[in-house]
């Protein structure tokens, strides 16, 4: 339980910063620790390993959200996979607000890739997609982000 005391603020801090909702962050924190408690591995537990599980739980949460929203968005964006270069300095506060308004699968891809600083390959593993599919998802995510971001300055 010493690890619990050490890891709890880390895991909770990560989740609450990424999902921005205390109740959901608490749920996901519980799921993270309970997954470890009921499924003990031989490898020693570390904070880093728990953070990896937390990241999976967050993506699972967004994936479930995406399934719900897919009923509303029958068509998922266009098939155009080109990515225009975008020269802009992002306002972080505005960017976080924009991120929260994106579709969950886009929010997940951008969060893993940019907020967590994972490589495309690492993000693909967590998202259970191929690297190519993850690249394509990132292109669409960046496009939606840019669209909402540019729209948000007028609001």
């Amino acid at each position: 339980m010493a690890l619990y005391d050490l890891a709890l603020p880390q895991v909770y801090g990560y989740l609450v910063a990424r999902c921005g909702d205390r109740v959901i962050a608490e749920d996901l924190t519980s799921e993270t620790f309970l997954a470890v408690a009921t499924n003990r591995q031989d490898q020693p537990l570390t904070v880093g390993w728990l953070m990896g599980i937390a990241r999976h739980k967050l993506v699972d949460h967004w994936r479930a959200q995406a399934r719900q929203e897919r009923l509303l968005h029958a068509v998922e964006g266009s098939a155009n996979n080109s990515d225009d270069p975008w020269d802009v300095e992002l306002d972080r506060l505005r960017a976080r607000d924009v991120l929260s308004r994106l579709r969950p699968q886009h929010r997940a891809a951008l969060t893993l890739r940019y907020l967590d600083g994972l490589s495309v390959h690492e993000a693909a593993t967590i998202l259970s997609r191929s690297v190519d599919a993850t690249e394509a998802l990132l292109v669409r995510a960046r496009r939606e982000f840019r669209h909402v971001y540019e729209g948000s300055s007028d609001a």
Partner: protein, 302 residues
């Protein structure tokens, strides 16, 4: 691919900053975790007990759940007890430990550091408790010192010292699945190699009765010669201030059940130990021995 160096999205990078959650949530999750660990160790426990239908970790609050027999040299200990008592050892996860199959209660030979007391030569007892959180509180309120409960693969555990400095462990384990038959409480073991009796050597008998009576609910029959018998615990336990084995301030002397004490005494000598004369007691034949590393123990033939 966009050029990484000019990717405006890189500005989003946000290293994790720890945040302390609501204390009520943290406490509630801690409780859930402890329960979840206890439930999952229940599965392991069933697996580990499949060698025998006998409850090896005690049944009731205060029963002996595990004995750690600290020895200077593990390899010599393995060989000695295998030769004398017929112990056979399962796979051990540690180079410092060996655990004989089947015998009750569960016992481990150990030549490393103990979680309490450092390198102990002799036995340290673990006791089964129904609710480890309240047991830990009780230990503290009776003058002992003890760790907070923590999950181990086999149980929720805590380790500490009684108010006279004797180390011990507490284990909260899942209830035994099979309810023991009436009378099958294994107070004195059942087969050769089982632990038939434990003598706790204590500096102050009254203080020990107050501590163990308070924490485990033990009651005592006061015997002769500065001794007391614990009622209804498994295996049977006695306390004394003046052990027959010679002067020692505190510690635990183990007694083992054998089928033929004369033959067992012979094996003790052959294995490099010392064996005293076989004496007739009200409960059976008994010999006070020492292993080849000088650890005192008794043999009992009932």
């Amino acid at each position: 691919m966009p050029d990484r160096r000019n990717d405006p999205f890189d500005a989003l990078h946000d290293p994790v900053s720890p945040r302390t959650p609501d204390p009520a949530f943290a406490a509630a999750l801690r409780e859930r975790l402890l329960r979840a660990v206890a439930a999952s160790s229940a599965k392991e426990n069933v697996m580990r007990n499949e060698m025998t239908a006998r409850p090896r970790n005690g049944i009731r609050h205060g029963d002996v759940s595990y004995i750690t027999l600290g020895l200077p040299d593990l390899a010599r200990g393995r060989d000695f007890y295998a030769a004398v008592l017929g112990w056979r050892y399962g796979q051990s996860r540690s180079d410092h430990g060996a655990q004989p199959d089947v015998i009750i209660p569960m016992i481990g030979l150990w030549d490393g550091e103990q979680q309490v007391g450092g390198r102990v030569h002799g036995a340290v007892l673990g006791f089964r408790v129904d609710d480890i959180a309240s047991a830990v509180e009780s230990v503290r309120s009776h003058g002992g010192t003890i760790s907070d409960p923590h999950p181990e693969p086999y149980a929720l555990a805590a380790e500490g010292h009684d108010d006279q400095g004797t180390p011990f462990y507490l284990h909260q384990m899942p209830p035994e699945d099979a309810a023991p038959e009436v009378g099958a409480t294994f107070h004195n073991g059942e087969v050769e190699g089982d632990v038939s009796y434990l003598t706790m050597v204590v500096p102050d008998l009254d203080a020990a009765r107050a501590f163990y009576g308070g924490v485990f609910g033990w009651t005592f029959n006061i015997g002769l010669a500065g001794g007391a018998q614990v009622s209804g615990v498994a295996p049977q336990i006695g306390m004394t201030t003046r052990p027959e084995a010679g002067p020692m301030v505190s510690g635990v002397i183990l007694c083992y059940r054998v089928d033929d004490v004369a033959a067992a005494v012979q094996r003790v000598g052959d294995a490099g130990g010392r064996a005293g004369p076989v004496v007739q007691r009200p409960y059976g034949l008994e010999s006070l021995c020492a292993d080849d590393q000088g650890t005192p123990f008794y043999l009992h033939q009932f």
